[in-house]
């Protein structure tokens, strides 16, 4: 390792801290949009605790809302990445289930306050 390597590590750590602090600034979302193959199929209110079932490419996908957070509980895919991801609650976050072609997206709050 030489001097430039140490500089590089410092710069990377700085960028990491910057990006982390940016993601802390995000607000909590109050609605979630569920897409199947880019079509909006369900709009979920995060203020109501409930479970929802949607049809994915590999069968049904079970979505749960609990205390303003949303997660995928059950789905049929090789690695179960989206159910392992757990809860999300910040706007801009999303759960993507590629094998099921399902995307759950938490949109930015500004847009939704205009609608409601």
């Amino acid at each position: 390792m030489n001097k430039n390597d140490i500089k590089l590590i410092f710069i990377v750590l700085l960028i990491v801290i910057l990006l982390f602090s940016l993601s802390l600034l995000r607000k909590e979302a109050n609605v979630a949009n569920v897409y199947y193959e880019n079509d909006l199929i369900l709009k979920i209110d995060l203020n109501i605790n409930n479970t929802y079932e949607v049809e994915g490419y590999n069968g049904k996908v079970v979505i749960e809302v609990l205390n303003n957070k949303i997660r995928v509980v059950e789905e049929n895919s090789p690695y179960h990445l989206c159910s392992k991801q757990g809860f999300i609650d910040k706007s801009g976050e999303s759960i993507i289930c590629l094998p099921n072609k399902i995307i759950i997206e938490l949109p930015n709050n500004e847009l939704d306050t205009e609608v409601s």
């Binding site: 390597d5 590089l8 990377v12 990006l19 940016l22 995000r26 392992k84 993507i96 997206e105």
Partner: protein, 167 residues
């Protein structure tokens, strides 16, 4: 001819490393997609002991072979890997020759470029801007994995030079 044989063996090695790596999940429950980047050992080695053109050949062929064997040709994963490999080769070459980093630094740059390339591709291909928030995790882990790959490659280069002396 000798160079050609060596490059083909390195290509086979990188494909094997890629497949071994896929069976070693590393905190995959928390950060999907995180891996050691063992195949990068080969790319890094080629940049040091051969030249840029060879690194591109082996890198691109590796992505195609892994695509055929494991992930599926022209699938989303295929384009993720392709963009990751291309960006990491370019960045590693620049950091070696322009910024004069040591082999460990070059390896970290390769690791960072690989994940950044994949995040950029996912934003373009899947329209997922939220992937940006995933980037700091990948960057953070690319430091230890980059150092590990760099150390392994350093030993490999040393060993290769010693063997060549006796040829």
């Amino acid at each position: 001819m000798k160079k050609f044989t060596r490059l083909s063996m390195l290509l086979a090695l990188s494909v094997a490393l890629n497949i071994i790596e896929a069976s070693l999940p590393l905190f995959n429950d928390y950060i999907p997609g995180l891996k050691l980047g063992l195949a990068n050992i080969v790319t890094l080695f080629i940049i040091y002991k051969f030249d840029l053109k060879d690194a591109f050949y082996v890198g691109i062929l590796r992505v195609f072979l892994v695509g055929i064997l494991r992930t599926g040709l022209f699938s989303t994963t295929f384009f993720f890997s392709l963009s990751g490999v291309l960006l990491s080769i370019i960045c590693m070459y620049l950091s070696k020759n322009v910024f004069k980093l040591s082999i460990i630094g070059v390896s970290i740059v390769g690791s960072i470029a690989h994940s950044t390339g994949q995040v950029i591709t996912s934003i373009i291909l899947l329209q997922m801007t939220s992937m940006v928030y995933y980037l700091p995790w990948l960057l953070l882990f690319s430091i230890p994995t980059g150092i590990l790959v760099g150390i392994i490659c350093k030993q490999l280069v040393k060993f290769y030079d010693e063997v060549l002396l006796f040829e």
